[in-house]
Structure formats: structure tokens, C-alpha cells
């Protein structure tokens, strides 16, 4: 115990901390500029100078550790004079352009000057002149305002791990500059903007458009992009989102954001937003009133139900919609329509992988806390780069490396390249052999623990030596041995599983191998999730075989429970998956489809076939915020509200339920309200006064969400299993199906690239993100480029069995020479349009491997 005295107040401390921390704990504020709670001490600004008894010179509170009996005075004539002196130094070369500086009003320098005040100007020399830099489309640098606290540099290097900016020159010439020159070549997280205390580094998106004090609303909500569920603060003026900022202390992202979260909000105010319902008349979508549209949908669905039965109708739910929207939607499908034909794009990988893992490890096996990842001693990453799929989660992996943890990667993980990964990069489509090799070696090293005999029965005979792996995968046995040694020696390993491995042939067998690795290494699983409420919609029962709270439709007992609660008779037949819906639509057995906030004509593989299937439907309803590829095919289009315009909840990939809050007013209805109106028109009441009432029902119906209220969720600490009960069912037989390695040498295979700056098609409606990643490209290796005499930017035609598109090429030296990488974000240029697929019999996920592609250079370009 250390006793110190600050400003006459006696303070007892458990351990020695800095004077600044001690003062903070005692509620005494010491001014700082370079110190930042996310970045720690630097000692540069010299504003935190304090008086310490028995030390003649003033000391910086941020660097000095307290010792027993220390007597500290933080506000004396001497400290005030010193701070006044420092502020004067900071101001002599500062432009004092507060009237036109966007930071004015929330500028830390301004606030400090107001408090300690320079009396009058004594600086008669010429001020340093550095023109403001507009070289970057999103970030504007004004180095005359810079106070050289280096928070941005420390953020970029020490937290974000991008190391894109630095202090250039020295002394009075010091300034912050991206190493790439004027334009940033970085991850555009904008966290440098967050930590800048002055107006030196700012977002161009809201430049000169408002003053901080003119913000009329500050709404804390959850990011609409990926499954990490970062807290965003939306600042609104004139019913328009002006800025998105993070909040320090928020549960998942704690003051950090990624490019999508920070810069991707402008789609809300897009002119392309749907404003009125549209009805197809004589083949053309025409504007209609809500009454017309809703009664048309109700009548049409009633007719089809009467004529062809409930199971001729299906619904596709949305991982971008709230839990409440999805709950009401599945209830509508199950009660009003009377079918279990409800599914979503979670079927693309997340749902199947989770179900597979939960069968082995129990429900909630993937509900592991994101912020805990950095403390793991080893992180094994397979099937997707977390730094692009789930950027803020990716920072946890980087932090783990920085703390001395081991990063193991299977396949190329560009975002982890500089974080000392131990890599196992197998030949294309040979992951299965590699994983077998790891399992064999782990069993050899650690033995079978005997805890899960069903799992052990499936894996005990796996026998792939490291030499076999070397032969088949090209990963040197010695390197893989090191990889396995690290894993085996690890006490708190974490296993990160991305979509790509779930979308490969033999996905279930690979998931078995990953489960085995997790089991043998005693790890915990994280499933990367690319949509904000992918987890939530599954929780809500938007799956053909599961009722809310993961109670199986197949169980009569559970059906009965829900029948009582919903006052209905449930269909006992398991419904169609999203892919089965497409098949049924092509065959003609599915007559009507209700799509809420999803775009199957673009987001499903072989999307042109999906579009053909959708065209074959008798009736297609699409409820969305944009006229998507799917909406263009619809008979009725219903305009929905975006995430910023409604209340509700999202459940993130770690299964934390968080509140989505309305920030902007827009006429129209929430998704659930539209559905409830249609239901009413069909004679079934699904009435709720507001969104919270929907949640009340969820809490009453789903055993997982039992008695949960918005109040419980308020602070973001509603974590799985909430107050409810997971289903501790008996483990079912583990079914697997092995893959067929589909690679032959000399051929090019099409693979999906998941860029950091885009997510689905939503981000392409956000101009800022388009500015930094503006078009689809075909990424090929230097080898491929050389063999086809292609230069950067040349237009090529990429042809597969499913179709062809023309794109400029981008040459990536590190790329695998057997692949061509395409994104699935830009209209008319999606990779999925070129991908035929089969379905894995166990996980029901699409197999997207082995898609052969041919590249031909287009002449005359």
C-alpha cells in the first residue's frame, strides 16, 4: 500500500502508478495533450507538469511513478505558469484559425487555452506555413494546427497496426505524413482522426458542414456492417448523419472503428433509396401507395397459400435486419403463412459451421468474448483474414501478437503478415490434408483426452504424417512441426474460422478436423461473421429447421410449446434452405417468395441462375432500402428503413445482444411493421405497439432470451446465454463427407476476395468507401500476368461455366498463381455470377471450390 498526497488529499494506492493515473483515480484532472487513455504516456507535450515536494523541477505527471509519501500539487501558480508557457509555445506557430476550423468547440487545445490562457500575443516572428493537404479523398491534414502529440502515429502503429503514417523531419519542421506521400495507403480506419486533439487530421466527409455544438442528436447504436457489432455514435444535424465516431469504453470496439463503420454511413441519405412501394404493372415497376402494395401482397400470398399450399411460399430473412424484424418475419412465415420455409444467407457458411460445432461442443460453443482474444497465447486462423472480414476483431489478433502471443495461419492472411505469423500455406484446395496432418501430430503429441468419445471415434484413425503433408500440400514438414509444437504447447489457444473453409468441398470433414484441433488443443472457437445480425437471425429462428432459441422444428414437444405461445398450428415439416428455395423456384414447386433485406440475385453463388429462378416465381416480394438486383425482379417492392432509422437489437458473433437506436427520422415503416400490416391484411394479427414490445415477446418465447429486457441490454453486457437456457441436447452422430481435391495444375481457379473496404453491395452505396475502393478488379499473380502478357489495369474477360465478365486486372505479387481473385460487391461484376456450386450434404453450405476460369485479354482497350 502506497500513501500519497495530492492537493492536500490523502490517497492510498494498491501499487505504484503514474501521478496522472493516481490523480485520475482521485478525481483530479491534470491537463494533457499527448497522453491518451488508449495510447499511454509519451512525455512530449509537457502540459501535465506538476509540483512534487522535495523535487526542485516540475515533473510530468504522465511519466512519474508515485512513491510512498509523495506530496503532489497539481494546480499551483507555478504549474499554471508552466502550462501557460507550454500553451504559448503551442500557439506561436498555430494558425489561430478557429473560426474556420471544424475542430473548434471540441478542440483540446482550445479548451486548455481557455482554462490556462495565454495573456497576449508576444510572438512577432513569421508563423510556420504548411498548406493544408487535400491529396487524400477522405482524410485532410492541416499540419499548421498539429501539436505533435503523435497520438495518430502511436494509434496507427501501436493499436491499428497499419504503420501507415509517421513523423517526418525533426524539430520545428516535424509533421505527420503518410509514408505513401499525400494520399494514404492504409486501412482507412480513421482512428488517427479519433485521437487527434486538434484540427490537424480530420475527415473530409463533414468538412465545413457543421459545428460540433450544432449536433442536434447523438445516438449510440451498433454498426450495420459486420458481425463484430461495434458501438457507433451517430452525430446528426438536420436529420442527416454528419459523422460517426466511436466511444471509448464501449464493449466491443472500445474507441476504435474500421473504415466501413466510420466512413460507410452515407448510404442512409442516398438519393437511390427507395421512397415508395413499387408494383409491377405491365412488366414495369410503378410507384404505388402503401395500401395498394400491402393489400396486393396479402391477397397474392393468401391466394397462393389457398391454391398451392403454405409450402409453396418461402421467405428469406436478413442478417442486416434487427432481431425484432427477423423474429416477426419468421413468425409471419410460420403462423400466417404456415410454413418453415424460412432461411437466409447465413446458410452460406455461418449457420452450418455453427450447427456442426455446437453438435460437438454444445450450444454456445462459438460464443466467446471478442475482447478476450488478445490475451490468448496462440491464435490459429483458418479460412479467412479476420483483419478484412471483421476488422476490429482482427485488431485483437494483432494485439495478441504484440503481447507476445503466437499467430498461426493456414493460407494467406495479408492483414497479419507483419505480425510475425507462423504460416502453413498449403497448395490450393489441399487444406484437408494439412488439417489431417495437424490432427495426427497433435494426437501424437498430446494423446486423446478421452472426454468426448464420439468425436475421438471419428478422429482416432486419422493418420497423415507431416511428410505426407509436405508432399501433398507443399508445406515443409519442419515448418509444420513448429506450427504443431506451438499449438500443442499453448494453454489458451483460440481458433478463428472464416467462411472460405466452410465453402469448400468436404466442408463437414474439414470442420470435423478443426473441431478435433480445437478439442485436442483445448481451445475456443470464433466464427467470423460478415453481417451485423447473422447470429441474431439464427437466434430468432430464421432457419428451416429451428424455432426461436434453437428449438428444433422436428420436435413435437417444442412445436407444442410454440403453438401455445403463438396460438397457432405449426407446420411439422422442416422447411427449405435458401438453396433449396432456388431449386424449388426453378422447378416451379415454389410459387411465391418474400425477400426481406436480402439480395439473392447477387449474393447467392451462380447468381444469374438464382435470378432465373426468381423470375420463374409466380410472385416475388422484395422489401429493401435500395432497388437491388433482386428488387428489380420483384412484383412488389416495399421500401424499408435502414438501420439508422429504427430501433431494435443486433446480436454479434460473440453473441452479445446490443441496442440499435434510431438516429434519423424517415417516413415509412420498420421491416417488422410492414410484415405485421400484411399479416393483418391476411387475417392474422401480429400486432405490436413498438419494437420493444416485439422484444418482450421474443423474451417470452425464446428460452434463450428468457425475460430479457431492453434495460438489460442497455449497457451492452447482455452476453450469451443471457438469462436463458441453451439446449443441452444429446450429441447427434457426427456426419461428415470428405472433399474431392479439385485442383489440376496449370489451371486458374476463381476465388472470392473479401476486401476490407466493402461488405456486400451496401458499402458500394457509401460514396466514401467507393472513393477508396472504387471498382471491381480481377486480382492475379505476377506469374499469371506475365504468362498472359497482362499489365496492371488491362481489361480481361473472365469466363467460367456459369458466365463471363470483363474487368481490369490488378497484379498482386503475393497472390497464388493458380487463382484469380474477384470480389462480390460491385453491381454487374460479382464473382458469384461466375460460380456454379454444389451443396455439402452435411452442412448444407455451397461448395465454391474448383471453379475453373479462363482469362483472355480484351484487345482495343
Amino acid at each position: 500500500m502506497i500513501t500519497i498526497n495530492i492537493n492536500g488529499k490523502e490517497i492510498k494506492l494498491e501499487k505504484s502508478v503514474t501521478v496522472l493515473e493516481a490523480a485520475k483515480a482521485a478525481g483530479i484532472k491534470i491537463p494533457t495533450l499527448c497522453w491518451h487513455e488508449q495510447l499511454g504516456q509519451y512525455g512530449g507535450c509537457r502540459l501535465c507538469l506538476v509540483e512534487i515536494e522535495k523535487i526542485p523541477k516540475l515533473q510530468t505527471a504522465c511519466t512519474l511513478m508515485v512513491t510512498e509519501g509523495m506530496v503532489i500539487r497539481t494546480e499551483t501558480e507555478q504549474t499554471a505558469e508552466a502550462r501557460r508557457g507550454m500553451l504559448e509555445f503551442l500557439l506561436i506557430n498555430h494558425p489561430l484559425d478557429c473560426p474556420i476550423c471544424d475542430k473548434a468547440g471540441e478542440c483540446e487545445l482550445q479548451d486548455l487555452v481557455e482554462k490556462y490562457g495565454a495573456i497576449s500575443g508576444r510572438f512577432r516572428e513569421k508563423k510556420r506555413k504548411i498548406p493544408e493537404s487535400f491529396a487524400d479523398p477522405l482524410i485532410v491534414r492541416n499540419m499548421e494546427r498539429c501539436v505533435m502529440c503523435t497520438r495518430c502515429v502511436r494509434m496507427c502503429e501501436g493499436v491499428q497496426g497499419a504503420s501507415a503514417i509517421g513523423v517526418i523531419d525533426r524539430g520545428g519542421h516535424s509533421h505527420i505524413e503518410p509514408f505513401s506521400g499525400g494520399r494514404y495507403d492504409c486501412e482507412y480506419c480513421g482512428n488517427c482522426i479519433s485521437v487527434c486533439p486538434v484540427g490537424a487530421i480530420m475527415s473530409r466527409m463533414h468538412k465545413h458542414s457543421y459545428r460540433p455544438w450544432q449536433v442536434t442528436g447523438k445516438t449510440e447504436t451498433i454498426c450495420p456492417y459486420c458481425g463484430v457489432g461495434c458501438t457507433l455514435v451517430l452525430q446528426v444535424r438536420d436529420n442527416t448523419i454528419k459523422r460517426v465516431i466511436p466511444r471509448i469504453g464501449s464493449p466491443v470496439n472500445n474507441g476504435l472503428l474500421c473504415s466501413r463503420g466510420r466512413f460507410g454511413y452515407e448510404f442512409v441519405g442516398s438519393k437511390e433509396r427507395l421512397t415508395t412501394p413499387l408494383i409491377r404493372k405491365n412488366g414495369v415497376l410503378e410507384e404505388a401507395t402503401w395500401e395498394e402494395a400491402i393489400s396486393l401482397v396479402a391477397n397474392k400470398l393468401s391466394d397462393i397459400k389457398a391454391k398451392s399450399g403454405s409450402d409453396a411460399i418461402a421467405g428469406i430473412a436478413s442478417p442486416r435486419c434487427t432481431n425484432e424484424d427477423n423474429y416477426v418475419f419468421q413468425k409471419f412465415m410460420r403462423t400466417t403463412i404456415g410454413t418453415n420455409n424460412i432461411d437466409s444467407t447465413a446458410r452460406m457458411g455461418f449457420a452450418g459451421a455453427q450447427a456442426f460445432m455446437e453438435n460437438i461442443f454444445g450450444q454456445g460453443a462459438t460464443a466467446n468474448i471478442i475482447s478476450g482474444l488478445a490475451n490468448s497465447d496462440t491464435v490459429l486462423v483458418v479460412g479467412g483474414d479476420p483483419t478484412t472480414a471483421n476488422p476490429i476483431f482482427g485488431l485483437q489478433v494483432r494485439a495478441c501478437s504484440r503481447k507476445g502471443g503466437n499467430i498461426l495461419t493456414v493460407g494467406q492472411m495479408k492483414g497479419l503478415e507483419y505480425f510475425n505469423p507462423v504460416k502453413a500455406d498449403p497448395f490450393l484446395y489441399t487444406e484437408e490434408v494439412l488439417l489431417e496432418g495437424i490432427v495426427t501430430a497433435l494426437i501424437g503429441k498430446k494423446g486423446l483426452p478421452g472426454a468426448n468419445l464420439t468425436l475421438e471415434a471419428k478422429i482416432k484413425d486419422i493418420n497423415t504424417s507431416l511428410d505426407d503433408v509436405e508432399k501433398k500440400c507443399g508445406v515443409p514438414a519442419k515448418e509444420l512441426a513448429r506450427f504443431v509444437d506451438i499449438l500443442a504447447a499453448s494453454a489458451t489457444p483460440a481458433l478463428l474460422i472464416g467462411k472460405e473453409i466452410v465453402q469448400s468441398s468436404g466442408a463437414s470433414y474439414k470442420l470435423l478436423l478443426l473441431s478435433a484441433i480445437n478439442y485436442l488443443a483445448n481451445g475456443r472457437i470464433y466464427l467470423l461473421s460478415e453481417r451485423s445480425n447473422e447470429q441474431g437471425l439464427l437466434d430468432m429462428g430464421c432457419a428451416p429447421d429451428l424455432l426461436p432459441g434453437y428449438r428444433p422444428v422436428a420436435s413435437a414437444e417444442f412445436r407444442k410449446r410454440y403453438e401455445t405461445l403463438w396460438d397457432t398450428k405449426l407446420n411439422e415439416k422442416t422447411g427449405l434452405t435458401i438453396f433449396e428455395m432456388m431449386d424449388a423456384a426453378s422447378r416451379g414447386s415454389l410459387k411465391a417468395l418474400y425477400v426481406m433485406g436480402e439480395n439473392p440475385a447477387f449474393n447467392l453463388p451462380n447468381s444469374s441462375a438464382a435470378a432465373t429462378a426468381l423470375r420463374n416465381l409466380e410472385f416475388l416480394v422484395v422489401q429493401d432500402i435500395f432497388l437491388t438486383e433482386t428488387a428489380k425482379l420483384a412484383d412488389v417492392v416495399l421500401p424499408a428503413l435502414s438501420w439508422a432509422e429504427k430501433d431494435g437489437t443486433f446480436t454479434n458473433m460473440e453473441r452479445r445482444i446490443q441496442r440499435v437506436r434510431k438516429a434519423v427520422n424517415r417516413g415509412g415503416m420498420e421491416d417488422w411493421r410492414i410484415i405485421s400490416d400484411i399479416s393483418k391484411n391476411m387475417g392474422v394479427k401480429l400486432n405490436y405497439a413498438d419494437t420493444e414490445k416485439v422484444f418482450h415477446e421474443i423474451a417470452a418465447v425464446s428460452p434463450l432470451h428468457r425475460n430479457l429486457t431492453y434495460e438489460d441490454i442497455e449497457d451492452g453486457h447482455a452476453i450469451y446465454p443471457y438469462k436463458g437456457e441453451p439446449l443441452r441436447d444429446v450429441m447427434e452422430e457426427i456426419l461428415t463427407s470428405k472433399g474431392k481435391a479439385a485442383r489440376s495444375t496449370g489451371k486458374l481457379y476463381l476465388r472470392i476476395e473479401r476486401p476490407l473496404f466493402h461488405s456486400g453491395t451496401l458499402s458500394t452505396k457509401a460514396p466514401a468507401l467507393v472513393k477508396i475502393y472504387s471498382r471491381a478488379v480481377a486480382r492475379i499473380s505476377a506469374e499469371t500476368a506475365a504468362s498472359l502478357s497482362l499489365d496492371e489495369g488491362d481489361i480481361v474477360r473472365i469466363t467460367t461455366k456459369a458466365g463471363a465478365i470483363e474487368l481490369p486486372v490488378s497484379i498482386d505479387k503475393a497472390a497464388d498463381s493458380s487463382t484469380v481473385m474477384l470480389t462480390n460487391n460491385f453491381e454487374g461484376q460479382g464473382a458469384y455470377s461466375l460460380m456454379e456450386y454444389t451443396i455439402d450434404p452435411v452442412t448444407k453450405t455451397p461448395v465454391l471450390e474448383g471453379v475453373e476460369a479462363k482469362i483472355v485479354k480484351m484487345t482495343g482497350t
Binding site: G44, D169, G172
Partner: protein
């Protein structure tokens, strides 16, 4: 007095290992290896050796801290980044007596348990770099560096690292940053380098001259050594004298030689028989002394009593023709240029002071400028991150303290009073 540091200087091949061996070089390494490392530190402690870089910190104390700190490996860094205006005292050792330094480093490394040494050499000493590298290669060839020195199982490897021209890298933590490949800026202390230094390991940073004293201490023993020069801080000292003296150069004299004697006895007095005006006794940032205050023994203990500091022992002598406003301006210009920019008062203050001084020198000074200089330097003094900014404040304050008249005349007559115009 027998030359210790500048021994054999007249020999044009003094940098060659064989010439060095001829005068008894390298015989102190096997002698040192007969002692336990702790005993060597004790011997150095008894010798009273203090760091010759400027701060005068007791060498044995630094060594004890690093040697006692439990982490390995440990590093021994030689600070050869001599870059302050007027300072060139280490240069003769680096260029003409490199084996003395190597011998000193092997013994010192053995004493603190360091197996790796680096000589952080000033970027503008290209010749010294060649000499050192050649000497190190010879030492390796002769088994005086490597994994098994003198077959005694002692390991010491030595590398020359050339700086890129920043004065601040002479500050030991900035030196370490620079050595590690980062921008040369001082680090927060604590932790001190002796605990967490180069590559986060215990590190001793000693000056060239300091390390070059070590073989002699082993040779003659602490008792004999401590009898040289001042009682409180004994040993030979290199004084480099520049400016208006008849015989400028590097002089090896007993510590505590009186400044007046150095100038008038050893350096032959003021050039051309002119009158002495002022002396900067220990490198550009040490407080200036007016002509009448030079009867001070040049050592770490006595100089502060006489209103200045020994610093590096770089004596700048200025005769009656010198404009001290301009000198002050020139020093501030240097410090502004060399300020690393990390802390506010130094980054902004040095430039401001230089600017005001420039105005005064150019006859554009205003009434109140002297008070402004004192106020600005007061706002810097004691508040900067490292001694560089402090030095800038101190230079300004001391020039004004002793020569306020000259500043006032500049302002009053709106021109440089020392120029014949």
C-alpha cells in the same frame, strides 16, 4: 605527465595493432581477466572515474546497476556521437588510437557481463569509421574480439554503427533508439538504459574517453590512477580548445587544470595578442564565462562553483572582436536545427529564441526583447524532455547574464555594435 589517452600520437601508424602492441597495448585484457568482473567494477569505483561525456556520472555505479540487473544479454555502447560545436576531443582516440578504445571496451564488457558492444559513431566522422573498422578487424584476427578472447572463454563482439547526423543521438536514450533503427528521440526514463536499454536489455552507454581510461586503471591500479588530477574526480582529461588561441587542439592534462592555464600556458594565449572576451568552457551549451572568471579548475566538481560546467571539456575561446549576440544566435540556430521535436518547449522555444536573437543581431531588436528572451527561456528551463532544450535556455540566460550590455547596445543602436560599418 605521462600521456594515457594520447599516447603514441606522433607515430603516423598509431592506429595499427602492432604499433599499439609495441607500446604495451592489449596487455591489460589478460590482466583484467584474472580478476572477477565484480573486482574490476570495484577497482573502477576506487579509481573515481567519472563519465567523460559531459554529465560526469560515476562509471562504476552505472556498471553496477547494469551488471546487477538480471536480464541477458547485456550491451555495452560506446557513445562516439561527438557533435556539439567545439567538441572534438574523442576524435584523436577514434582516428589515431582506436585500439585503446577497443581494449577499454573488451575490459568494460567483461566487467558488466556484456557480450556485445556497439560504437555509435558520429555520422560526420567517416575517416574514424574506416579506422575503427580496420582496427576491429585486426582485433578479431588477433583473437582480441570474438567468442574466446585470450582463450579465456570471454566473449565480446564489437560493431561500429554510424549515426545519420543528428546531434540528439548523443543523448544516450536517443542513441539507443537510433541504434535500434528508430528515429533518434530520447526515451522516457525510467526505465533507465542500465535496466531496459538497447533492444530492451540492460545497457551501459559510456563515452569514448571514459572507456579509454579503463585499460590504464587496470594497468596502474586504482590508487595510482586516483592520484592524477583533482581529488574528487581524478584522471587524465582531454580538453579540446578552439577559437582565438595561438595553438588550438586537443590537450591531455590532469583533470582540474585551471582554465586560465589551459588557455595561456598550454595553448599559447590569445591569438595575435588580442584581449580575451569570453570562454565557453565545456561545449556550446555550457554557460559562458567572461574573461575575468577563468581562474577555475576544469573538473566536474569545481566548474559549477564557478558558474559553469565542465561538460565535454570543449573550450571555445573568444577574443575582443567577437559579437556575443551573434554567437548566442549561432548556438541557438544549431540547437533549433538539432531539436528532435518531441517536446513542446524545445521544438517551439529554440526557434523562437533564435528568431528574436537574429532580429537583435540584425538591428531589428525591440525594446523588451531581452525580457522576452529571458521569459521564453524561463518557460523552457527545467521543463523540456531532455537536456537539449534546457541547454538552449541556459545559453540564452547566461549570455544575457554576463553580457546584457552588448544586447542592449544592439537594440538601442539598431545594429550590430561589433561590426565595422
Amino acid at each position: 605527465m605521462e600521456k594515457v589517452l594520447l599516447k603514441n600520437m606522433e607515430n603516423p601508424n598509431s592506429a595499427d595493432i602492432n604499433e599499439y602492441k609495441k607500446i604495451g597495448g592489449y596487455k591489460n585484457i589478460p590482466k583484467a581477466f584474472e580478476f572477477q568482473p565484480k573486482e574490476i567494477i570495484e577497482e573502477v569505483k576506487l579509481s573515481g572515474l567519472r563519465g567523460r561525456g559531459g554529465a560526469g556520472f560515476p562509471v562504476a555505479m552505472k556498471w553496477t546497476f547494469a551488471s546487477a540487473y538480471p536480464n541477458f544479454p547485456k550491451y555495452l555502447l560506446c557513445n562516439a556521437d561527438e557533435g556539439e560545436p567545439g567538441t572534438f576531443k574523442d576524435r584523436p582516440i577514434l582516428e589515431k588510437n582506436p585500439h585503446l578504445l577497443i581494449e577499454g571496451m573488451v575490459i568494460s564488457g567483461y566487467a558488466i557481463g556484456a557480450e556485445y558492444g556497439y560504437i555509435y559513431l558520429r555520422g560526420e566522422y567517416p575517416h574514424a569509421k574506416d579506422v575503427l573498422n580496420k582496427a576491429i578487424a585486426q582485433a578479431y584476427d588477433n583473437g582480441l574480439l570474438g567468442d574466446n578472447i585470450f582463450n579465456k572463454g570471454v566473449r565480446f563482439h564489437l560493431t561500429v554503427h554510424q549515426g545519420a547526423g543528428a546531434y540528439i543521438c548523443g543523448e544516450e536514450t536517443a542513441l539507443i533508439e537510433s541504434l535500434e533503427g528508430d528515429k533518434g528521440q530520447p526515451r522516457i526514463k525510467p526505465p533507465f538504459p542500465v535496466n531496459v536499454g538497447a533492444f530492451s536489455k540492460p545497457t551501459v552507454v559510456n563515452n569514448v574517453e571514459t572507456l579509454s581510461n579503463v585499460p590504464y586503471i587496470i594497468e596502474v591500479g586504482s590508487e595510482a590512477y586516483s592520484k592524477i588530477g583533482s581529488q574528487e574526480c581524478p584522471g587524465p582529461k582531454l580538453y579540446c580548445v578552439s577559437g582565438h588561441v595561438e595553438k588550438p587542439g586537443v590537450y591531455e592534462l590532469p583533470m582540474g587544470t585551471v582554465l586560465r592555464d589551459i588557455i595561456y600556458m598550454h595553448c599559447g594565449g590569445i591569438k595575435g595578442g588580442k584581449r580575451l572576451k569570453a570562454v565557453i568552457p565545456g561545449g556550446a551549451t555550457t554557460p559562458i564565462l567572461p574573461a575575468e572568471k577563468i581562474d577555475c579548475p576544469m573538473d566536474f566538481v569545481n566548474m559549477p562553483k564557478h558558474g559553469s560546467m565542465l561538460g565535454s571539456g570543449a573550450i571555445i575561446v573568444m577574443d575582443e572582436s567577437v559579437c556575443l549576440v551573434k554567437v548566442c544566435y549561432r548556438i541557438l540556430k544549431f540547437l533549433e536545427h538539432e531539436s528532435c521535436g518531441k517536446c513542446t518547449p524545445c521544438r517551439e522555444g529554440t526557434g523562437w529564441l533564435r528568431s528574436i536573437l537574429g532580429r537583435i543581431e540584425n538591428g531589428e531588436g525591440a525594446e523588451g526583447d531581452i525580457d522576452l528572451l529571458l521569459s521564453v527561456s524561463g518557460n523552457m528551463a527545467g521543463k523540456t524532455f531532455c537536456p537539449l532544450g534546457d541547454g538552449a535556455a541556459s545559453v540564452t540566460q547566461n549570455f544575457i547574464k554576463h553580457f546584457r550590455n552588448e544586447f542592449e547596445e544592439h537594440i538601442k543602436r539598431a545594429k550590430c555594435v561589433m561590426r565595422n560599418e
